[in-house]
Symmetry: D2
Subunit: 338 residues, 4 copies
């Protein structure tokens, strides 16, 4: 931690800060500049918890030198993690394909979709049983009934199941049925839910918040890891910007940034990022080329009949075609579909 003093800070003010730091068992290194004085703090910063240095007389600002997340930080865990779920591996060397409807609508469509995406090579079936919807009057999901259909689909196809949980209640119910839970963008900082997901120990797909910084995202992952659950996969799904040509703005640079800061796998959701079916294929190719560990794509038996997100869903044929076109990109990136 670095403390930058104001240009006019008095000797006395600097002295008080030095004393405070040293009285907490840390060391203070002073650099007296022509305009300002800088104090470098050496030692365990947590000892300064509660001493609001920003508030002390003469202090201009504080600069943090180290990140607050530790367990998910690459500095302390240099090799990339590979998460194993059932027969699937998520991480370097593998390309994980997750696909399915935005919302689970009925028994038939789930099975139908499961067989179609399995045939195309997907390892995971996605589908929403608990839907976070902007309006209370929009379709809210089939809840436990939907989870049962998903479990059946797994038994019939061998696919792994991933479903979003939007509350502790949904979490408790879902872990009985699914292989991986998803914590969506709107709940990325629902810290109670993150802690419970950590305690549950089940693999978690953690989507980036609508306007979360990468630092906040990794701190959210740290909430899960700090409860003893290391099985975390990050998912970039676009951030909110002023541009309206796409539903969100995919921050594709987040992939190399995460690679440099964390050992966790990261996948991309081209469906929510763009909101437009025609953009999913080029964005999926870019996602593999940039180094993502996988893709989660919306697929629906009849997009024009979907109860939510129809315009960004692919038909079975379109998904089959996408999977085939991604093959050479996966090979180029040294990734196997398994």
């Amino acid at each position: 931690m670095i403390i930058i003093m104001k240009p006019n800070a008095s000797e006395e003010a600097v002295g008080k800060i030095k004393d405070l730091i040293e009285s907490n068992g840390l060391q203070a290194h002073l650099s007296k500049g022509t305009e300002v004085t800088i104090v470098g703090v050496v030692g365990d910063k947590t000892k300064l918890q509660g001493a609001n240095i920003e508030m002390l007389e003469g202090v201009d600002k504080i600069v943090a030198v180290t990140e607050t997340y530790k367990l998910v930080n690459k500095k302390f865990h240099p090799e990339d993690s590979v998460i194993t779920i059932g027969n699937a591996k998520i991480g370097p060397g593998h390309l994980t394909m997750m696909a399915g409807p935005c919302a689970i609508e009925n028994h038939h469509m789930v099975l139908e979709t499961a067989f179609a995406v399995k045939k195309a090579g997907a390892q995971f079936l996605r589908g929403g049983a608990y839907k976070p919807r902007t309006s209370p009057y929009a379709f809210q999901g089939l809840e436990e009934e939907g989870l049962k259909y998903m479990k059946e689909a797994r038994e019939a196809t061998g696919l792994n199941i991933v479903c979003e949980v939007t509350s502790l209640r949904a979490l408790e119910t879902s872990i009985k049925y699914v292989d991986m839970i998803q914590i969506g963008a709107r709940n990325m900082q629902n810290f109670e839910l993150l802690k419970e997901a950590g305690k549950a120990g089940i693999p978690v797909l953690l989507k980036r918040g609508l306007s979360a910084t990468i630092d906040e995202w990794l701190n959210a992952a740290e909430y899960i890891a700090s409860e003893g659950n290391p099985n975390i996969v990050l998912c970039e799904r676009g951030i909110r910007t002023y541009e309206t040509a796409t539903r969100n703005t995919l921050d594709i640079s987040a992939v190399p940034v995460i690679r440099s800061k964390s050992h966790l796998p990261i996948i991309i959701d081209p469906s929510h990022a763009t909101g437009v079916r025609a953009y999913i294929e080029p964005i999926s190719k870019a996602a593999i080329a940039v180094g993502a560990d996988g893709l989660i794509v919306e697929v629906h038996p009849c997009p024009s009949c979907a109860l939510s997100d129809g315009p960004q869903s692919l038909t079975f044929e379109q998904y089959q075609k996408l999977a085939e076109e991604l093959q050479p990109y996966a090979r180029l990136a040294g990734r196997n579909l398994s």
Copy 2:
């Protein structure tokens, strides 16, 4: 709802859409333009739930004409609402002052602060017992113990108590102690929590999400209202932008925008919006001048010792001075402090 067809849309495609609309008991009005054809849909749109018109052949885009929120919509409730909590009224003609520490740290500081803000004219004591913190290693709050201190403070001072809830569990506990619950920015789209807050019937202070649109914010309020709870007060606390000179960017225009779209009261939080103590006074004056119904301000007996948000907290003396300086602005805006 308006359906805009693509320039090259076939007669047949337009015909199919017309049929779909009419087969659902609605009317379709066609406008054949030189470049494109437009279809105006007349009738109850909910009948089209599930028919994803964007997906149909030849459709370019859909334009919504009416809002999805109804109960909080000014169109259907033209006179502004005034919420009564204990002896306080929130809405036109009143200036509601909420103040207190970001986090409840101990028994003494709560009582001390309560007396100080009461003396300065506040009607509400704020204080966090459940703290949403970016890092799992930061102070997380005293939880129920903190709520007990707040209740005591109410008994000692007669102040109304407002505390943030971050989960269903926190909600269940808090309603036993507080007069109003706060749903914070990070939980603005925690729909389960919104529904439960609606069922609980207790007054709710609903903060705007970090990057929520005003439309999403009003839909979040609709979740509460749709469960039968009309006692909702909105709170603008700054949105996330690229500017880093302040902690967030206060969207002061949100006040007149909300006035034109909704009948709910709206207050402003200058502490979280700016994150800088020196900016709180000018922003508070602006908040009253623009027509806000009140202010929620962070006050701490010793900001430099605060366990969270010290730099943006006011001392008792500073808050007393602020309250006095706001008096003439309140009079000018025709608002009484009660």
Copy 3:
């Protein structure tokens, strides 16, 4: 300047940086932390121009301690500036009112508007002769002919004239007719234009760029000042965010931020910030309450006939009413209309 080394930086790497700094006649202060080493640089940083320290082995990042702008920096010019233009003063103690049409459309409307805003108490007539328009097919302005109308309006009313310049050519022509030139949001980083405006010496109204940081804005002002022109007035006109309920998002906190960082006057443009006539009055009151030195408002004899920005323009009656309603706010803020 502070240099933060990577956790694994070698002794040798640190040594090389220390040598580089000292060989440039500066001092290096080392703070060896438990995780990282920090190097504080003391002395004239410009001597390091060209030595890209970020690039050197072992360096993690650089933290700037001091701003790059000097002449407009409050640290080196503590008292607030008051700019005198004709009989008007812009700065503390004064409330400057600028008003007029977005675009100059004809001779008659300029004179008509000039008399109306003069009557309402404005000291400046604004009007666009050179219009920056998103589409090449939109009305581009009357250019010099429009400037002549403005000059006539000044002779008839005694109002000061402010007009936007969009190029060096427009600048050269305009200075023959106007009292103050405006550099608009789209040209805030048109550095050639800033330099020429500095050389011209004429007072400059410098609007904030669509997505400029306050730091970039002050550096743009520094371009003008560094050419010997101290007569600069800043204008906050809203920044670009994801919110679409208003044309832009007024960053009202920019006023106290500028007050703390610079001695230059700052006014607010509620017309472009909101884009909605109904929001201009509340925002104007807030602007005065927050401490702005003035307002620039769009007024048009017949907003429904305006060739640009009609929806955000006020009629003469509405402007007269606005000016009257702002009086008590100006008095409260200790500002005279002169």
Copy 4:
């Protein structure tokens, strides 16, 4: 164009609008809804220039149906354009590689860099002679002297030359030396410069503004095209968002969006988009995979000595390696390096 009336709009108000439209030789199609009435306008909208319909009694809002840009619009020019510059082609089937230093620093480094990037397969040498810099005290470029070095480099290597112009003066001088001019992000809406670039007829590399929408970007291109210059190449270089982990946020979706809206070629600038050397390789692969027509990359003989943007520049060896690694991606995308 669609006019949406307010819920309470009177019959008379609707009638007046219908009359206005028809009196301008256009047709009005009414759709009376249960809540609101909608008026579809058919015919040449330019006839309504100056009639501010938003302002008329009873009008809620206007929805534009067609874009304002025509010449660069794919609707009116369905096949993608291929721009020929010297021996190079920019567009489908080709991968255009532009490389060179951010700023031209001296004669030697330009030649040295030219030979290096030529060897790696680049067809264009980039280099800044006129530098737009945030601070007036930062290196501003060698101007005409730098252009001479670039011309020499072309003669020595056969590379095409692209240089940024920041003013009309710079444009006039540059066209004597370069094959293509660049209009940078800060000048994307410097309309005078766009018009002159259009008149000059020289190929233009038009970078996206820091926070320009895709629609504004295409309108900026329309300014150039409307002056008779069809040789325009778009360049996505990242937009401004709240995320600070990268210098800007690359909007990679802009490539498929531009493909769907315009026939102009589009390239990507990974150097300015990320600002971090380590991210350039993965982003470049993604750029080719998503369908970009080329890349413009910063290369410097000694990045640690660069006078600007050192941290994002590649060494000759790194650029050579990048070019080789991109080969298979180019083949996969069906693009030749020529």
